[in-house]
Amino acid sequence: MSKITAWDKVTLARELARPKAIDYINNIFQEFVELHGDRYFGDDKSIVGGIALLEKIPVTVIGEQKGKNIKENMERNFGMPEPEGYRKALRLMKQAEKFKRPIITFIDTPGAYPGMGAEERGQGEAIAKNLMEMSKLKVPIICIVIGEGSSGGALAIGVGDKIVMLENAVYSILSPEGFASILYKDSSKAKEAAENMKLTAKDLKKLGIIDKIIEEPENGAQNDFETICENMKEYLLKEIKKLEKLTERELVEQRYKKFRVM
């Protein structure tokens, strides 16, 4: 096997052809019903969410949705949510708690959208609220980084009992470009930054940030999508079964401890 660099993974994670949140939702679950809106301001299309069946278990699924071409990406704002997206996600997660449904989130974003409207409507507050609320939800939460997991915009749907990454996904504090621009004062040094940021699945497993890596073919998830979905489904069923054995109190306590030691 040839050596794949961290930057190669960043490139793979961003590929247009790479399966997106809705692809996973449609393949792993049945009877998906998409639900819209945050009930305050609008419906952010860069986050999709709803109810679906995992085998026979009703679950709430939420995902950051990128497009596969320019048109779709315009519609999805390149997977960069505004506060409404995070507030919709939180609404659906609270709903899941009410009906005792496990929550599965798919993370795939270059980051929360840094626009004027987003700031005016409290991007920071929206993310903060999600982190706080997710930490105490009384239902199992499994978060899967399927592509690019960048900054607080990724973490805002990423506080779970199990954190999973696809083999070629990346998860980091900021995009390598942003990181290079801050630390090396030169965004063109993104490649170099990527190597130093410890953003690959393997690095994050080693650092104890994630629990599981789901393998994918060297040239990207789109080349063996069916197998990845099967493995993912198997993992979800197994872990949800385990997590559902815990009392609500144990579940929340375990989640607190998970992040407490980080």
């Binding site: 903060a128 982190l131 607080g152 506080v159 607190y256």
Partner: protein, 288 residues
């Protein structure tokens, strides 16, 4: 008169002063206000709580000075002092940078937490320090803050956090990101115990700190004209390819948009905090 003067000076000349180095502005016993450009005697400025007597600009404060202004004299007992920067990513030059900075500034970390009294009322107080890597949050900062929150829970005390931060500490990468989850989870626990949390936003509060504990106060106060936001102004301007209007992401802007409760001048801060804490001491017979 003064306002006119400031307005006049706020034009192009202000841009020039922004590019001056700190040493240009702080020469010996004198300091130049980067807002109204008045030359101020440093000791006078400090006596005035580091607020420009001419234009009212709130200068950035070290944690040490802030604690002196807020805590009753001699009551501050630090917690988590032993928690220091680690290097989880083995990032080239990071530890050396921290050590050099520590030596130069005599500051141990970008936050100082402790138990103290404010007008005789016991609280847990956390104060971030912008002089230490821009108050950025890595594991040590997150750990100190979480420990402070847990101390408030254990001792059933109100929590006050003074925030100043450029965001997450880049050199600790993903570990810094996780501090946002850690601190926010701890605030969730504080809330479940019915304890008061007042967050005070000072210039600047941005990034991962804004997107975690800073935005989660029961009551959120801010100093006047502080820059407060998630994305930094430069990043937004690059994204939308236009200049931001004046005052965008200022305390006044946030108040108008409903994200903070009150703007409090430094001279009124201690009194305001003491009052708010007192209003939360009610037992069945009313407040103390």
């Amino acid at each position: 008169m003064i306002i006119d003067k400031v307005k006049k000076l706020n034009g192009e000349e202000k841009v020039k002063t922004r590019n001056e180095s700190a040493s240009d502005r702080m020469i010996g016993k004198w300091v130049k206000c980067d807002n109204c450009k008045e030359i101020l005697y440093k000791e006078e400025l400090h006596k005035n709580l580091s607020v420009c007597p001419n234009c009212g600009k709130h200068f950035r404060l070290s944690a040490r000075r802030r604690i002196k202004q807020i805590a009753d004299e001699g009551t501050f007992e630090e917690i988590g002092k032993d928690i220091l920067t680690e290097d989880p990513l083995h990032f080239d030059g990071y530890i050396k940078k921290v050590e050099t900075l520590r030596e130069k500034t005599k500051i141990e970390e970008a936050v100082k937490c402790g138990i103290c009294e404010i007008e005789g009322q016991k609280v847990v107080l956390g104060v971030m320090d912008g002089n230490f890597l821009m108050g950025s949050m890595g594991r040590a900062v997150g750990e100190r803050i979480t420990l402070a929150i847990e101390t408030a829970i254990k001792k059933k005390l109100p929590l006050i956090m003074f925030c100043v931060s450029g965001g997450a500490r880049m050199q600790e990468g993903i570990v810094s990101l996780m501090q946002m989850a850690k601190t926010s989870s701890a605030i969730a626990r504080l809330n479940e115990k019915g304890l008061l949390y007042i967050s005070v936003l000072t210039d600047p509060t941005t990034g991962g700190v804004t997107a975690s504990f800073a935005s989660l106060g029961d009551i959120i106060l801010a100093e006047p004209k502080a820059l407060i936001g998630f994305a930094g102004p430069r990043v937004i301007e690059q994204t939308i390819k236009q200049k931001l209007p004046k005052g965008f992401q200022s305390s006044e802007f946030l108040l108008e948009h409903g994200f903070i409760d009150k703007i409090v001048e430094r001279k009124d801060m201690k009194e305001t905090l003491a009052k708010l804490v007192r209003l939360h001491t009610a037992t069945k017979g009313g407040v103390k």
